[in-house]
């Protein structure tokens, strides 16, 4: 193990990261937003060859309109493309996370017509004409956080927070069905989401606070 540890190197890389004005996150978002061609070309290069047909795997792309966070978005979508892929790599909405890509972890949860769904397991072509809400669509246009987001901030509910967008979307969807849940009901409501930090107690504190704020809002 020791040979992998390099405190000096780690410190250096932190310093150099801080010295740059462009963060990694901004850079990636810039690439995705600034050039669909760049992101599309990179995945085409790496995508496995399609079987039984000629041409690139992007040959089946079609321009469709999706309603995402209340806005119509025009996007080229392959027939076999999942909603999580479209949101992250075509629309730059990287708040939706891809964990397992197998409907087994919940980090890709979004609302489709207000109902929580695993966006890794939905074909984008099947949600034409429906309303998709991602974590980016929760806050008000002036930046005011959604009550559940506010609850999470106030309770500091998450540790690493990779699973947080999925948990928040599940909770927001569940509260539409049951605005006044008990703690056990809320746990059941977000039971389709996993936290590998095992931070469930604090997550439930935060989501219950969010439920309280939602009722007051």
């Amino acid at each position: 193990m020791a040979e992998w540890e390099d405190p000096q190197g780690a410190a250096n890389s932190r310093d150099s990261a801080q010295s740059k004005t462009i963060t990694r996150r901004r850079f990636i978002l810039g690439v995705i937003a600034g050039g669909a061609a760049v992101s599309a070309a990179s995945y085409r290069f790496l995508a496995p060859p399609s079987h039984g047909r000629s041409g690139s795997s992007g040959a089946g792309e079609r321009l469709i309109t999706l309603m995402v966070n209340g806005k119509p978005r025009h996007v080229d979508v392959m027939k076999q493309e999942t909603l999580a892929f479209t949101l992250r790599y075509k629309l730059g909405l990287t708040g939706t996370k891809l964990g397992c890509d197998r409907a087994e972890c919940g980090s890709c949860t979004v609302l489709i017509d207000d109902v929580p769904s695993y966006s890794c397991s939905v074909l984008t072509h099947t949600v034409r004409g429906r309303n998709v809400t991602t974590i980016e669509g929760l806050a008000a246009p002036d930046g005011t956080l959604h009550p559940v987001q506010k609850g999470v901030v106030d309770e500091q509910g998450f540790q690493c927070a990779f699973c947080m967008p999925g948990f928040i979307m599940s909770a927001v969807g569940y509260l539409k069905k049951n605005p006044n849940p008990t703690r056990a009901e809320m746990a059941q409501g977000v039971s389709g989401n996993l936290c590998r930090c095992q931070d469930y107690t604090k997550i439930l504190d935060a989501l219950m606070r969010g439920a309280e704020y939602t009722r007051r809002a």
């Binding site: 892929f85 890509d101 769904s117 397991s121 039971s191």
Partner: protein, 335 residues
Amino acid sequence: MAVFRDVMPAFDLLQPDSVAEATRLLDQNGAGAWIMAGGLDSFDWLKDRIKKPQVLVDLSGIGELKGIRVSSDGVEIGAMTTLTEIADHPAIQKNYSVLSDAVSVVASPQIRNQGTLGGNVSQDTRCWYYRGGWPCYRAGGNICYADTPVGRNREHAIFGADRCVAVHPSDSAPALIALDAKFVIRSAKGERTVDAEDYFIGPDVDITRLNILGPGDLLTAIRIPAAWSGAKFYFEKIRDRNVWDFPLMNVASAMEVNGGSISRIRIAASAVAPRPMRLRNVEDAVTGKPANASTGEMAGNLAVQGAVPLQFNGYKIPLMRNLVKRAIAGAPEAA
């Protein structure tokens, strides 16, 4: 990293908006067509590149396959109705609670929001050797990897094995058998209706599929007759985790008790055999007997007669004995 793995190989996506159009497309494409309902079974196969259909027929745009219709004859549930809709439906909760109880413990909330009743009964088995792409009997090979001295078979069958020892994973199937439901199947040739228990087939009939659907067939609806409306129901699912997991076993029953004795009963179990198993010997033996602990004891012992455990699933025998006993005599009150 899942980033690039999650682009599935290309397929042609057909999105019919009526049953007539869907059956026409299925007829046209024959065995090359893959039917997708909620997609939660399909995506594993497609993403893992184990099944590579040329054509995928997506049923999500067909309105006539969705919804729950209540009439004096019972309830008709469209095959594309989500499990959440069924779990939350007041008439099903009131009169056929064995079904709402069963579907409300399927997988996770998000999966129930998207997964459909038709998909739940038509999904493929979860044996990980088969799903992992191993060339087993079910996949067209000539070995069962689970039924070897070192095979991992804790979840596998104690009944009905024939080369393949995989079990049927559905939670709704035993409840539908207990309710004597009828499955409506359409194809370009017309419509046919089969009893719930006859929808499922074992490896002795066809080792490559779990149900009678052939190329061109589409399950359109499930009809629950009023005959068992308001009966005394029992459903219990045993699993390792409270979310996501498929059953290690489940038992469903519908029973009518008159003057303390059982006048009629239907009982079925899943995850014990390659098809959801109706326990006819138990039904025959307990009819006319009092619904009490000694009848339950007898029923439990009878249910496991002939069971053949594998290396790691011997626990399923006492488990089944106890679940069947509880179906008849009731579960003891939790302490």
